[in-house]
């Protein structure tokens, strides 16, 4: 099973340069754990960053800077000669949430404080240091739709368990879908099992049906 929906070049570029905010970076970093191809692209961009460092004109720093660095280095313990090798013990089952996501939510899918969203769906909000963007895990019951909606801003959805489909195709584990103001879609979770995904949004979703819009404030989505 390989990943077939990848982040746009712009997102990978901003992740590599460091310009991308925390919540979006969380989705990209989690995708990278599952996608060797995008990892290669990001390390190529980091190499480009190194090239830019080498090509950059020299700039003077203040006289005291080197001394300040040396003083701090002297005070610090000497670094270990080589990294301590990590003993890899194959776990009986790999966690379903890869790092860094697992640390952000504080556990794997079974142990999370899921909150009911209605119609069998659950969500779990993810605490972030940067404000203005929301990150949440969504759990949509097998075969059930997410209410049809469009987006006030950008939405990234990364599938972690199961799969969902909409007009644009099917997304499975590791696939990342980007949606914006122009996207009106009604994703359905695949029939086999519940679909768990990471959703990042920078504006509230706009639901098409009046009923969904009326309960939206109560559900906090």
């Amino acid at each position: 099973m390989t990943v077939s929906h990848h982040p746009s070049d712009e997102l990978l570029f901003d992740y590599a340069s460091g310009a991308l905010g925390e919540a979006w970076s969380l989705a990209i970093a989690t995708h990278l754990a599952l996608c060797p191809r995008c990892r290669a692209a990001v390390s190529g961009l980091e190499r480009l960053g190194g090239e830019l460092v080498e090509a950059a004109p020299m700039e003077a720093v203040s006289d005291g800077l080197l001394d300040a660095v040396l003083t701090r280095v002297d005070a610090a313990p000497a670094p270990a000669a080589s990294p301590v090798p990590v003993l890899k013990v194959a776990p009986t089952t790999a966690p379903r949430l890869p790092q860094p996501l697992r640390d952000y939510v504080g556990g794997d899918v079974e142990t999370l404080p899921w909150r009911r969203l209605g119609r069998g769906a659950y969500q779990c909000l993810i605490p972030l240091q940067e404000a203005g963007v929301t990150a949440r895990l969504l759990r949509i019951p097998a075969g059930k739709p997410v209410p049809e909606h469009s987006h006030g801003g950008l939405e990234l959805t990364l599938v972690l368990c199961g799969a969902f489909s909409d007009d644009s195709g099917t997304c499975g584990r590791g696939d990342l879908q980007e949606a914006d103001e122009t996207t009106l879609h009604q994703p359905h979770a695949a029939a086999e099992k519940d679909c768990i995904c990471l959703a990042i949004t920078d504006a509230p979703l706009r639901f098409k049906s009046l009923a969904a819009r009326m309960v939206q404030p109560l559900l906090g989505i």
Binding site: G44, L48, G50, V61, A90, P91, P95, P98, Q99
Partner: protein
Amino acid sequence: MAEEIVQETMVNVWRKAGQFDAAKASASTWVFTIARNMRIDMLRKANRPEPDANDPSWVPDPEPQAFDLVSRDQQAAGVHRAMAALPAEQQDVLRLAFFEDLPHGEVAERLGVPLGTVKSRIRLAMKRIRSELGDGQ
């Protein structure tokens, strides 16, 4: 603030020297990633989420096939070539985006070009890098 970031970066280069793996990245690439992470840490006071290669959920790289085996050195040389081949105005976009931590809209403003131009220059640079890395797409 720039000096503080330089200082933190140099101290961290020292502290993390044991983790440097010349087989994985060039020294300048490694210093760039440390400086980038310091900037995020100090200017935005936020974490930079990164994947962990030792995590059991990590999907490993596919075994390289003999015919598409491109060494790290060749890849690095390829990125160098791709970079050198870019016209000056494209290099400017990359430099501003990488060093000034500017959103694309502000990169466009600084250079006096439309936002779409910045985006297409970034896409073009990505395309060149991907082709140098042997990624056919």
